[in-house]
């Protein structure tokens, strides 16, 4: 009787609320989230909990981990504390990753949305530009930019952003092309909404899902870039970062495995965190892929 009437339609939910629920069920996404929280805590709170200057020489060079109490994770080729380096190096690495990621995504979305929305000559010009940037091997291009200007974490972030935006631009363009011809965009156009409003308020919010996934991965890639540049000696020499530690320990790999291995593990875990979150979000936003 009444039980039949109580069976109403399921409550409608905002797609993002649904996505958050799906994300919570994805083990990859959750693992990534926990990993990233741990890394952020390590990088932000660490320097207060373990206040040893990473530049200070505290013990004999190349001391292996576990030998002396002052340097639980050993020392580098100058006798600096590895643990202090790990604790203090995370901030710069995360800063460059986030800044470079933000620059990449901003340029990518601007170029991609213009190309996808306006089409025609605008699209042609912008896509030629994108193609041009894709032809340049990104790391070499970033190396040239950092060399011509002085290496600082700002220059490094800007260089990474300038070389990595094409992927985001292509993705944004594809999404805009897909959404542009849908009815609600036509409706907005027919009631006289301005282009700017349609691009930012109508199409962009409906293209966000793949862009968020790509943004997460972009930050991870930017961190790998920073590590690569630092490894080649093109990082900011005055800011302690994990990449800088690897670059400095490069020559001593066979005598002291820990100098390079430990900061590498930190970079790996950070990027892994972003990759897993990206994977989880991808599953959450694409219900069709969930069962694959």
């Amino acid at each position: 009787m009444s039980t039949v009437q109580q069976q109403t339609l399921p409550k409608s939910q905002h797609p993002f609320v649904e996505a958050v629920k799906a994300f919570r069920q994805s083990w990859a996404g959750l693992l990534g989230f926990i990993l990233l929280l741990a890394v952020i805590f390590f990088a932000l709170a660490g320097p207060y909990l373990y206040a040893v200057d990473p530049f200070e020489i505290i013990w004999a060079p190349l001391t292996a981990p576990g030998l002396v109490e002052n340097a639980p994770l050993g020392t580098d080729h100058l006798g600096r504390d590895i643990l202090a380096g790990l604790v203090h190096g995370g901030g710069a690495t995360l800063f460059v990753g986030l800044t470079a990621g933000a620059i990449t995504i901003t340029i990518g979305i601007l170029v991609g949305s213009m190309a996808g929305y306006y089409g025609g000559a605008v699209d042609e010009t912008l896509m030629r530009l994108t193609e041009f940037f894709q032809v340049l091997p990104a790391l070499l291009f970033a190396m040239v930019l950092v060399t011509l200007f002085t290496p600082s974490i700002y220059v490094v972030s800007a260089a990474i952003g300038i070389v990595s935006w094409p992927t985001t631009a292509r993705l944004t363009r594809a999404e805009f092309l897909r959404v542009r011809s849908l009815e609600y965009v036509k409706a907005a156009q027919s009631i006289g909404a301005k282009d700017r409003r349609i691009i930012w308020r109508v199409i962009l919010p409906n293209s966000l899902a793949p862009l968020i996934v790509s943004a997460t991965l972009t930050i991870g890639v930017a961190i790998l870039f920073e590590a690569g540049l630092s490894f080649l000696g093109l990082g900011d020499p005055n800011t302690f970062s994990w990449g800088l530690m690897i670059g400095a320990g490069r020559e001593y790999v066979l005598d002291a495995w820990w100098i390079v291995t430990l900061p590498g593990i930190m970079i790996f875990l950070t990027v892994l965190g972003f990759s897993l979150i990206g994977d989880g979000l991808n599953d959450a936003f694409n219900p069709r892929l969930r069962d694959r």
């Binding site: 894709q134 091997p137 070499l140 690569g228 590498g264 970079i267 790996f268 990027v271």
Partner: protein
């Protein structure tokens, strides 16, 4: 569409891209802080007055920028990308001496990744929820997240300590003498670790990609038809499905060529492989800008050539594009 017409359009397009890279190089010299003559001399403030005067004369640096661009381009088109004052040799000669090992490394890594990756992908598609599928997914996320130079260093540490079978540095062993085969074998032995390091990231990606496209294709009508008329399972996997499943791998491999070259720069530095990457590293340390910019140009050229080749391979693998249908 006519093959010759498409190909010539592609080549014209490639030529325009090459020109654009040259213009970028020119702009970079002028955008850098300081006197362009200093940048070209590559010794920030250290070059003699005579040397700078000679450079200004050579590149017409006292003339309007557009004239300078003209001079730069016409010299470049004639194969003159300037002189390295650090190595005291023409940039083009330096690069020509180093480009071979880089091409060898990149092709070896790519071939390795495509062959193994596709093979694993096909195997995994046989059991979509099996162990191999899970392993490939996990492995690709891990491979994607580790800095490539770090993976290389870890291999060096592991192999130098535990199992010293492959050389960890350089491209030749000068003590190896004898026939050409002995020398080729020596180079191949040196190639194993760098190529493995560079290829490992892409193996998992290509396996994942092949698996996904195989699964999609295996559910399609023409495969069902093939099964219905009694075609053997191995022929369906190895011939009917793989032919289509490999298309995305070809596309992605072509698109990724630039990032593979970026990876090669790091891998070469780790293994002291005498290619463009180590040259770039050394010339950046020496602030040798003409060489650095020359390497940027030539690596972009490699990417452009790779894209044209990908196009041709694609037409070869997929007859639908050839006939335009």
């Amino acid at each position: 569409m006519d093959l010759a017409l498409t190909l010539s359009r592609r080549l014209l397009h490639a030529a325009l891209l090459i020109l654009a890279v040259l213009v970028l190089n020119f702009l970079l010299i002028h955008l850098a802080p300081g006197d362009p003559a200093d940048v070209i001399a590559g010794e920030m403030g250290g070059a003699t007055e005579e040397m700078l005067a000679e450079i200004r004369q050579l590149y017409g640096l006292d003339k309007p920028v557009i004239v300078q661009l003209g001079i730069y381009l016409s010299r470049a088109v004639q194969g003159d990308l300037g002189q390295s004052f650090f190595y005291n040799a023409p940039v083009v000669d330096l690069i020509m001496g180093r480009i071979g090992p880089t091409i060898l490394l990149v092709t070896a890594a790519l071939t390795f990744a495509i062959v193994i990756g596709t093979f694993l992908g096909v195997l995994a598609s046989h059991k979509p929820k099996g162990f191999l599928s899970g392993f490939i997914t996990v492995f690709s996320v891990i491979g994607y997240s580790a800095p490539i130079f770090w993976t290389g260093i870890m291999l060096v540490i592991l192999l130098a300590w535990k199992i010293p079978i492959f050389p960890i540095s350089g491209m030749y062993d000068i003590t190896v003498e004898g026939s050409v085969f002995a020398k080729i074998f020596d180079v191949l032995r040196h190639l194993v670790l760098p190529a493995l390091t560079l290829g490992i990231v892409y193996i998992a990606q290509y396996a994942r990609l092949t698996r996904a496209s195989m699964l999609e294709i295996l559910g399609s009508d023409y495969i069902r038809t093939a099964r219905a008329k009694g075609v053997s399972s191995s022929k369906i996997y190895g011939y009917h499905a793989l032919r289509n499943a490999i298309l995305p791998v070809v596309t992605i491999a072509g698109l990724q060529f630039g990032s593979i070259i970026s990876g090669a720069v790091l891998v070469e530095t780790v293994f002291s492989w005498p290619g463009l990457g180590t040259l770039a590293f050394d010339s950046i340390l020496a602030r040798d800008y003409p060489t650095v910019l020359g390497i940027l140009f030539f690596s972009a050229l490699l990417v452009i050539i790779a894209n044209v080749i990908t196009d041709i391979i694609y037409r070869f693998v997929d007859p639908r594009i050839r006939t335009g249908g």
